[in-house]
Symmetry: C2
Subunit: 315 residues, 2 copies
Amino acid sequence: MKVVALAGGVGGAKLAHGLQMALDDPTDLSVVVNTADDFDLYGLHICPDIDTVLYTLSGLANPVTGWGIAGDTFTTLEMVGRYTGQPWFQLGDRDFATHIVRTERLRGGESLSAVTASLAAALGVQPAIVPMSNDPVATMIDTPDGRLDFQQYFVGRRHADEVTGVTFEGIAAARPAPAALQAIESATAIVFCPSNPIVSIGPILSVPRMRDALEAASAPIVAVSPIIGGEALKGPAAQMLSGLGHEVSAASVAAIYAGLVDGMIIDRVDEALAPRIEALGMRVHITETIMRSDADRAALAQESLAFAQAIAANG
Amino acid sequence: MKVVALAGGVGGAKLAHGLQMALDDPTDLSVVVNTADDFDLYGLHICPDIDTVLYTLSGLANPVTGWGIAGDTFTTLEMVGRYTGQPWFQLGDRDFATHIVRTERLRGGESLSAVTASLAAALGVQPAIVPMSNDPVATMIDTPDGRLDFQQYFVGRRHADEVTGVTFEGIAAARPAPAALQAIESATAIVFCPSNPIVSIGPILSVPRMRDALEAASAPIVAVSPIIGGEALKGPAAQMLSGLGHEVSAASVAAIYAGLVDGMIIDRVDEALAPRIEALGMRVHITETIMRSDADRAALAQESLAFAQAIAANG
């Protein structure tokens, strides 16, 4: 199998980790990661979703927070705070190293794809971690208080604002990372991880030619709903769906993906939604979708791949 | 009194600290610091001498190594090493913060003078820490193995090479920092700290118009010899003097400063050199010059200022 996973942050990284465990050869996995959350802080280029995937697949991730590195300390940030005032974004000492090395290499002219591959190799990560694009894209969140940078909304203001609109600045000029297109073309299964459909999977699908490539792919596409029982496990997906006029449900996620995704994987608690999703022209697989352990991750990954294979077999 | 100190790294920072302690109003002190050792590493701009002065005057300095911050950890660098290979230059976690913040502000268009003043203010430093220039200057060391960057020679190769030549690249185009010229003009005493006369004080004096400003200054200039009993307390000053054809002695340092400096302060062990130094047209003050404690620093600073005042009084 050649597997492509589309992922944002924590939930996406967990299922990507499951796919890494589920595959006989982890190098058969390419994880195409959202970069529209990327931002600069203290002159360093930070890619929160890439880093969450990087740390999760390398076994370094902090299992409690989901972001950052387990056991990381905050000495550098504390000193930065003495110079610049109270930090609003947490960066651990080891995490700083990632941003320092990445920033140096980007300034030296390497693409984000090349830098990401190099960082992943240094940490022993076998799957390919592929940014959706090497070009800058910035998610902007419209709120009743005005337009906010994504991290300002998400971290700075703890995603407490009502979301009235979402814009991906720069998306029209962004080109898909070549490795992403190649992986999609040669994939035998494509999995949309349980990431936020608006601001994690949404930007990836909005990169020009990316959706075309997914539609043209011979591989079946399955998506795991990040909404379970009308709630998001983590992050602002629920408020965001609601603010943008969507129902907060797995059916609503399916509707966003309709026409592109062949099969939705939803949680047992959402079983009653299956007919509505099937009415959108998708197959539905019902299972436990909450990943509390590594075994949960591997099991959901295996079910996702089996579901994709079943769809491929049935045409 | 308005005091200007010219300083490089560890020895210079110690006497600058003494002057800070000796003055009733520490804001009466301006420390003009060598920047020809500055270099970029991991995309960050590092100013070793400025940082040594900054950390020493703020009380953060590591008293054992002389460089870096006391009690600093090396978590960020260890992780950088996972990405880039074994580091050759030690950077602590808190030290990294200084370089990160400085680099961000320099890239944002602030001058090194402005950035340094801001960092010093954040750490509660009262004297002005003034880079010799806001323009880039790079000390290059000629050795039998070829020309080396200063830090490559000094840290990377542990100053083990024979020094056959020293060049300050960029010096002809460097302008003195305006604050340095202003401080020199209004000074009532000028002290050359016991820093390396070739690669610490040397670059400062080589900045166009700096030597003219010192010669034009109404304040007496006194210099503390960094060579004691034919040896340097720290660093490569002895090998460097020898390699460049100088005698390794306080008299040799005096000869380098002849025509500019009014008085030399030498150690008791070098008492016999006094007539040779006086023959250069300088006054000589003999005292204990090794600064083992804060009290030693303050005492040497007080003697330096008293010596300068005596020179001023005697015309």
